[in-house]
Symmetry: C2
Subunit: 335 residues, 2 copies
DNA sequence: TTGAAAGCGTTACCAT
DNA sequence: ATGGTAACGCTTTCAA
């Protein structure tokens, strides 16, 4: 169907091997022959078959990036970083989206395994991703974890400093005079959610504030859940005066829920969150956040991965931690 | 290196062909043999090699989606639709991002061609994408255009109704009493930008309003450009009282620029735009927009593509047009 | 119900 | 400097 090196060889009056050598710039070839082959390749619109090549070379020069939410700006920035880094290193990037669903994640593992990609940059849905990662490990496919770690698996990873960020956001609220601070946390099955909660608790303790069970909510991203949590919190006898949302998605839901209840931010409730919000917030840079260097997550993740694939990595697993930057804005009364 | 059907065959005491038949559920095989093979496959952690299979079957069951901006919510929604539709139809989706750059687009063409994907869902950077599309056509690789059309190429496509949306937004501004309406348009090298400008002009004309050259700006997405355009517009002897931005990105830039000049929206200038803004705007559903059904763009695009690949499509090229929905909100004084 | 051989398009290896 | 042959892992075709 498509033009092959044999077709080229026939036209050029040489062997397929010679054509292959021209394509790969390998071995010695007379300038005359090279030019003739090149001309004919162009003329016949030759396109190399990457699958055939990968089959014999036992490498695809393709990396794969799995993210959990393609609509989250944190992950799209990360994807851009990964893309740029992969390109620079001579790899293609296959992008996929698990939607935080374990089933899709598993399906994806099958895909990359049978596609014989050279490595995977992996943002796990949560601790429950362990079997999926073990599958990669068993098949000897190099991978790097990004954003979240998974207990039970040792590997290279690029993480944010969730605990530190949470501490700083919580401290900030305390400095603003808040003593009743609620946590709208993510699932405890996700490492970042746990770390953010830990930072919150520790800061309360260090400041001599009580830890109140009823001020802590755990969200599993189900419909209407955030609104229910917020409603419960604000209906407490002593409702919180400030809210720490563990990520941008939760913050959005929380603010919407507060608004629906006629509460103003920050006048009635101060709100801070982890992760930057969408670019559109330039219209109204409103939220106090702990922003993470998402693009760099992608770049460094790919670099670790490629080092590992090419055997340039140290034997020990590497753990890169990128600190967040806190931006004080109106939502916390910070500006 | 990895387990092959020959390894399985040896263990199972049968031929590779038998293993192949078990994997593909093809031909007749005794239940006993089948079970034995299945057991051994599991035991040995067999993973089929998709490249080897594609090489002989001459199809990859992979489709490719090219978008021009992975950070734009229009395209990420579209990508989700495409992903879901592809999955449903038994295809994998390879996602790529051209960043509106022709060079990346060209590079991408090479990739999909040599990867031997079965088809491409293509959001072109603009009219200048023509040679890239011709390349696909020459290689007989099925493709479907989404969002933008490209003069000079006939193919299946899924488009929005840019002209109609522009008319309705412009009419709305006129109904609000505006007579001096500026257009912040996209590049004239992009079909949607032209159609939106046409809708704008036509509506002015039908309403008996003059078309003023100085009220029209064309943006090529260069740094600082939007701010300069807005500054020029607002410095005119008779500055516009309303602004129609041809897409969400331009609208964001425009509003920021207006704010920097101390102008309020909508009190000093009304603003409307094409495309919905980020989800984060739930915090402040502020902008009057012509929203497009982005997810459906993806779904329908993939369906057209697969029909074409599988030979189920009519001979004639199909052109699906999805109408926008106008949401009246505060930015235009609409609510 | 099962198997042997050929071939998909390429590169590695050994010749010449 | 160039070519022949085998191999990558699989499916198709034909035969038993």
């Amino acid at each position: 169907m498509m033009v092959t090196i044999y077709d080229i060889a026939k036209q050029a009056g040489c062997s397929a091997m010679t054509v292959s050598r021209v394509i790969n710039n390998t071995g010695r070839i007379s300038d005359e022959t090279r030019q003739r082959v090149l001309d004919i390749m162009k003329e016949m619109n030759y396109v190399p078959n990457a699958m055939a090549r990968s089959l014999v070379k036992q490498e695809s020069r393709i990396l794969s990036l799995l993210i959990t939410d393609i609509t989250n700006p944190f992950y799209t920035s990360l994807a851009r970083g990964a893309e740029d880094a992969a390109r620079e290193l001579g790899y293609r990037l296959l992008l996929a989206n698990s939607d935080e669903e374990l089933a899709k994640e598993k399906e994806y593992i099958d895909t990359v395994l049978s596609a014989r990609v050279d490595g995977v940059l992996f943002a796990p849905a949560g601790d429950a991703s362990l079997p999926n990662l073990k599958r990669l490990r068993k098949q000897n496919l190099p991978f790097v974890l990004i954003d979240r770690e998974v207990p039970g698996i040792e590997c290279d990873m690029v993480l944010g400093d969730s605990k530190e960020g949470a501490k700083r956001l919580t401290s900030h609220l305390i400095e603003q005079g808040h003593a009743r601070i609620a946590l709208l946390g993510g699932s405890r099955g996700v490492s970042t959610a746990r770390a953010r909660q830990a930072g919150y608790e520790e800061t309360l303790q260090l400041s001599g504030l009580p830890y109140r069970e009823e001020y802590v909510a755990e969200s599993h991203y189900r419909a209407g859940e955030i609104a229910r949590h917020v409603k419960r919190l604000m209906a407490l006898p002593e409702p919180p005066t400030a809210l720490f949302a563990a990520n941008n998605f939760l913050a959005l839901g929380a603010i919407r829920a507060l608004r629906d209840q006629g509460l103003r931010v920050p006048e009635d409730v101060a709100v801070v969150c982890f992760d930057e919000l969408e670019a559109g917030f330039v219209l109204d840079p409103f939220m106090t956040v702990a922003a993470q260097p998402a693009y760099d997550f992608g770049v460094l993740g790919i670099r670790l991965l490629v080092d590992r694939i090419q055997g340039k990595a140290a034997e020990d697993w590497r753990r890169v931690v990128l600190p967040p930057t806190v931006h004080l804005r109106r939502s916390s009364g910070g500006t």
